[in-house]
């Protein structure tokens, strides 16, 4: 069979055929499992079909089987590079349903850890994207910076990646001693890494050539697809949930929202780099403005008070001196002591667990613990439905929760930001060459846990 001729074509004419290339579920990109079936005319992409769902883990169904606080570990694993933002979004949605609000210090704590999570997300996205284009050193530098931030997160929450830090009605524990210092140091290191990566990539001829002009999308198309976040901002539309529908304490913090112009991969890279800088700025302001927590030293002697000494002081009647102080306890109880509770929880007994000192110390605390932890009891919000959007690293992350008054939610729906972006992937790819799939898919920042839930 003569493959050089199409049937019916004049003799001597070369045959032109389109090729179907399956960039299959198992592929070398570091982003996640997805299937892109591309129809190629030579090197140019003529048509694509995107198939997702390879990481569907049934988040929404599992959320109906556990109680309200039990959903929090599942939310960690949604957008697993910025887990604290998911935690915060879910907890704020349930708090909206309950109609309670947390103290100011708790808001600041949530903002600080959310912004640190946002920085880790952008570091992973830009780093992995750069690695796929050949800039392996940039990936190593950015993962180094991410390690510093993860060590910081571990200091606060106890875990590097899947943190489960926020609770309905507050956070798990207050910021530990020395957090300020460590945080500033980590952010300084991150700034250095960003400066190095900037020097390596932003005016690099190869990087710019591969990223500019590829993966373009217009603002109208982006809005029609429901795209939000850095992707939308790179097309020129300025929409940031933190500015337009502010929540927590974002309305008091000064930060800029970078906006691109052309809507291609290069603009997205620049928007993400600048957003990291703005997030560092937010964290520094928050550290400066955060209302003070209880102090660690005895107000008269200035020494830190061991817990046993505090008990003794109380016994001799020296209450006034120690009532706001925080005793040096076991490191595993760090940040969760009774004196810090008013700063980190909403004050509603039916929602938040009591401090351990109360649980073991008096009957009211024991009953409060029992009523919240026992199977079938727990948080019982009123019947209702609520939608709460936060600014995730990829765009508007919204939680829609329907409650039927029992201890577990009736329906939890998470509006995934990268679902919208992935639905626009055919539009981004058609017209470009097959080699442009790599930078485009990299800048989409598809996170499988969020896309497929």
């Amino acid at each position: 069979m003569d493959l050089t001729k199409t049937p019916g074509s004049p003799p001597g004419e070369p045959e032109i055929r389109e090729m179907l290339l399956n960039v299959g579920p198992a592929h070398p990109a570091m982003h996640g499992i997805i299937r892109i079936v591309t129809k190629l005319d030579g090197e140019q992409i003529v048509d694509t079909d995107v198939e997702i769902g390879y990481l569907h883990r049934g988040f929404e169904k599992m959320a109906e089987t556990v109680d309200y606080n039990g959903v929090i570990p599942y939310t960690d694993r949604l957008n697993y590079v910025s887990p604290l933002i998911n935690n915060m979004g879910y907890c704020m949605a349930v708090e909206k349903l309950l109609g309670i609000s947390v103290p100011e210090r708790c808001h600041y704590i949530r903002v600080i850890v959310s912004e640190i999570s946002r920085i880790t997300d952008h570091l992973t996205c830009v780093g992995a994207g750069a690695m796929e284009l050949g800039a392996f050193s940039v990936f190593l530098y950015m993962i180094k910076a991410r390690e510093f931030l993860w060590e910081l997160v571990e200091m606060v929450t106890g875990a590097r990646l899947t943190v489960s830090y926020c609770r309905v009605g507050g956070v798990k524990a207050d910021l530990p001693e020395g957090f300020d210092e460590r945080c500033r140091k980590a952010l300084q290191e991150t700034r250095k890494v960003l400066a190095e990566s900037d020097a390596l990539l932003t005016r690099n001829r190869i990087f710019v050539d591969r990223m500019s002009g590829t993966g373009k999308i217009s603002a109208d198309d982006a809005i029609s697809h429901g795209i939000t976040g850095p992707f939308l901002r790179s097309t020129g539309v300025e929409y940031d949930v933190r500015k337009d529908c502010p929540y927590a304490v974002y309305d008091r913090l000064q930060f800029d929202v970078p906006v691109g112009t052309r809507g291609d991969n290069y603009d997205r890279f620049l928007v993400r780099m600048e957003e990291m800088e703005q997030s560092i700025r937010i964290v520094e302001q928050a550290l400066r403005d955060i209302p003070p927590g209880p102090f660690l030293a005895h107000p008269e002697t200035g020494r830190p008070i061991p817990a046993a000494e505090m008990v003794d002081e109380g016994k001799i009647g020296n209450i006034a001196a120690i009532v706001d102080a925080r005793a040096v306890t076991d490191p595993t109880l760090e940040g969760a002591a009774k004196s810090q509770h008013p700063n980190i929880e909403a004050g509603e007994k039916r929602v938040f667990l009591p401090a351990k000192e109360d649980t073991y110390g008096n009957i009211e605390g024991l009953m409060q613990q029992f009523k919240l932890v026992m199977y079938g009891h727990g948080i019982r919000p009123p019947k209702g439905e609520v939608y709460f959007p936060v600014e995730g690293a990829n765009g508007e992350l919204g939680f829609y929760i329907v409650s039927d008054g029992t201890s577990s939610a009736y329906r939890v729906r998470v509006r995934p930001p990268c679902f919208a972006i992935m639905s626009a992937l055919p539009k981004l790819l058609i017209g470009d060459m097959i080699a442009d799939v790599t930078p485009t898919f990299g800048s989409v920042n598809m996170i499988g846990g969020e896309l497929d839930r």
């Binding site: 049934g58 697809h225 939608y387 829609y400 039927d404």
Partner: protein, 222 residues
């Protein structure tokens, strides 16, 4: 526009279609009949009063077991009644499931009782599913939630109009609702499963689908 004026504006345009409305916790919500969906969505997108250029989210809720969950009866044999704490009271309570409470005859909002028995066959009961749309307007910065009750009559696959001609985001979102709930969308270009695989039988997020009923492609059912 604030929640109340948004709801009023929608009611003025569709006096016959709007079945109910509320603004529970400040979210403007309108419950609309399914025949009016396409028209209302077009109006929300194009009218200068609304300018809803974002279809943020499209999802569904299965209300068939709403309020029927019974608390576990610990120590039931011993005679000690360990009842869970009552719900946190609400100054402005919710009006109940949009399609009507599953226990027909009970007023909406009362604690759930038993599934309705004795309703005359063929009469529309409470709607089993509610398709929920979240709209957002970027120029005017307001949000609206539209709820369409479907499944009043016992049908395997309730149908609603598709909004994919107005917003491109509706394409994949409707495919997901079809996959998870089995609600069809008229006018969708290609309604096929998106999160589950083609051989999967059933719709996982329906309340009658058990959470760990596995249908593996290869390997044992474990």
């Amino acid at each position: 526009m604030n929640a109340a004026s948004l709801i009023q504006a929608v009611k003025d345009r569709f006096p016959a279609g709007v079945k109910a409305s509320h603004s529970y916790r400040g979210d403007a919500t309108v419950i609309l009949g399914r025949e009016f969906l396409l028209e209302a969505a077009r109006m929300l997108k194009e009218d200068t009063l609304f300018q809803m250029n974002f279809l943020m989210d499209l999802t569904a809720v299965d209300f068939s077991t709403f309020g029927t969950k019974r608390s576990p009866a610990f120590f039931a044999n011993s005679g000690i009644a360990v009842s869970p704490s009552p719900e946190i009271p609400d100054a402005d309570p919710w009006s109940g499931p949009p399609g009507g409470h599953p226990s027909a005859g009970a007023a909406p909002g009362t604690p759930g009782g038993h599934p309705s028995a004795g309703a005359a066959p063929g009469t529309p009961g409470p709607a089993r599913f509610v398709v929920v749309y979240h709209f957002f307007s970027l120029p005017l910065k307001h949000r609206l939630r539209l709820e369409i009750p479907v499944g009043e009559v016992e049908e395997a696959e309730p149908e609603v109009d598709s909004l994919s001609s107005l917003w491109a985001s509706a394409d994949w979102l409707e495919r997901e609702v079809w996959d998870m709930f089995g609600i069809r969308f008229r006018g969708h270009r290609h309604l096929k499963r998106i999160l589950m695989y083609e051989g999967f039988v059933g719709h996982p997020l329906r309340k009658d689908y058990p959470v760990n009923k596995r249908q593996p492609l290869i390997g044992p059912v474990n």
